[in-house]
Symmetry: none
Subunit: 206 residues, 4 copies
DNA sequence: AATGAATGAGCGTTCATTCAT
DNA sequence: AATGAATGAACGCTCATTCAT
């Protein structure tokens, strides 16, 4: 019965992970005690520790999942070789991000911010976030490159620098939304469109 | 001799605050114990509690100072009624930010990220950050407004939306620098300049 | 097929006991967890508990076996009615003891010392060790008695007291070997021989 | 007020150590929980941890004290250059040992046996016991050497071997007393005297 | 005003044991 | 008979905070 057992283990792991997710989305990394997670999971302490070595591993797994969600958002975005408008990409990406953020289990962006705070101090969380940030930045650099190839970006523009700015818009959106609220994907994308389409003396924005 | 006493109190408060700042910049909000702060301050536990009600108040004061620094960065920026290029503003602002971040007492952006994480969960940290974010956003909106008034932004662009994007670039810069490193003010500003100065060559988007 | 079942049960019991023995010889009574024993035995938790009521019973069984080995060492030693030299008996006994101690499954003297520690506090381990110590002491008293009967011990010597001393030499050997190493049966027996054969030269003690 | 504070600290340390001593003498190393020690000490958990890093350090300190007591027993024993009868030394030593063992705080020999069990597995307890055993063995070797110099031991006897035997008599006494009871210093010493004064065919013991 | 020893609730974790399968 | 996932009481320990001096 290995199939059943493996499925069972995976389901239990998921159950715990979701419970921890809910706790962290509600109370942050440090406000979430193992006792909370255990109670939320409906399991016993021993059971939880059978699936995760300890609190650190659990938080790590949650952070992993949280930032993986940001990455997901790019899938299919760059399929083909089209040169989408960066503002359109941003809108799509943030739109998906907001859909995911409305998860009834809890807002993953809140967890992501916790993870940034942890990663800032170095250690395993930094090791986790670094490659994922790099990958997402790579996506944005690719967007910039294509945009440049399509003749929409100055020939002397450096896609790496443009990519940094585009990547930067994402944490900017997330933090702003969490702290101020009232930020939505279309408006934010429009702000970028306006910046990207400056009036040529008496020009018109998009 | 109330003057002396008041000065004394202020000096002591500052001494504690700086000690806590160093701790938090090194170990984060939760990694910093009161014992660490007390040791770092060179005072006794009782003395520290004589100036701050508890850890929360101390962290709050640190967060306050940390984000105040971001605000500082705008001072004199918008004096007069010039209409500076947003990318120039960004470069100046980030340049100052990096100077402040190199404080030997510890990187204030690290503390800021901790504060965002805390604020995301609501509570006093949100109440602290919200008005400060609002004010900084106000600065950016003003930048956008003047840019528009100078005819450099489409007439139908909404400065509020543009301001959100410009504000967003700051946390984006901070997080990216902490996680990936290798981000500097001029290059980041150049990325924005490139986006804002699209090729005038006719091009078609995807 | 009760025979087969009984044999099977005995084999399983032995399998568990040996696994526990290995664990205890490696990590002591308290350092050995049931999880270790279970893993070492290759059986499941449930299976182990099917053969032993709990950890206490298992440790008890191990202690039993460990001190039984010390007793073994006397078998045939006192067969017949010879009056062997106590030092010779000691040498033979310790020699056998060391052979047993080199069991690849682990040093039984290490387990014995654990058992002494437990027995010192009273309880079942004391009830276990007491009769076994008594029996071994009985052997030594018998050695002393025969030695006296052979005219090698003063007529007014009390074999019970001599037996206590001879018994005492055994834990002394075991502990000394575990803590200091470098103790071997022949040298230790020689030490006793030297004490038992004082110089006949006239001398005065201090 | 450093004097007072230092004395205070020393007194508190002693208070905790004695509480732990009582617990260990009653329940052994592993049966003694920190909660027990804390309750017994009359202090709080935090206070205890202010004086001892953790349970290990506390047990180590107790073991240290326990075996130090065995060493004490030799003080003044070998002052001067007399050549005392080993059996007399043994009697004195064991007599002192029993006096110390009757400490109302708990029998130190019980603690010593716990320490032997721990040391047998290597680690810090072995490092602690090894030099102390060596020193005590050194005392016994000196006793043997003097006895030999006084012409009471065969010229070809090796004091090192005799010393091992004499040292061995001590754990033998301790364990036997704990497990069987009914062992006292004079009787035990008499047993040794009897062994050391064999009848010369029809001789008389001392 | 300042000290720092003391507090104790609550933390993360372990592990002997059980029981549905 | 055998499994091993699950249990949960109890463990060692931390740390924000207090208060007698």
């Amino acid at each position: 019965m290995p199939r059943v057992t493996d499925e069972h283990r995976a389901a239990r792991r998921e159950q715990i992970l979701r419970a921890a997710w809910r706790c962290v989305a509600r109370e942050g990394f440090h406000g979430s005690t193992m006792a909370h997670v255990i109670a939320e999971s409906g399991l016993s302490a021993g059971a939880v520790y059978g699936y995760f070595k300890g609190k650190d591993e659990l938080l790590y797994a949650i952070a992993e999942r949280s930032i993986a969600r940001i990455d997901e958002v790019f899938h299919e975005m760059l399929a083909g070789d089209a040169a989408p408008d960066p503002a359109d990409v941003l809108e799509t990406v943030l739109d998906r991000l907001m859909t995911l953020a409305e998860d009834p289990d809890g807002d993953f962006t809140l967890i992501a911010v916790q993870a940034w705070g942890e990663a800032a101090r170095g250690g395993p969380f930094l090791d986790l976030l670094e490659p994922q940030f790099k990958e997402i930045r790579g996506h944005w650099i690719e967007v910039a490159r294509r945009w440049q190839a399509a003749g929409r970006l100055g020939a002397d523009a450096e896609p790496e620098q443009v990519g940094r700015v585009l990547l930067g818009l994402m944490p900017g959106f997330i933090v702003q939304r969490l702290v101020l609220g009232g930020v939505a994907a279309p408006g934010y994308a429009n702000g970028l469109r306006a910046l990207m389409s400056p009036s040529t003396r008496a020009g018109a924005a998009g």
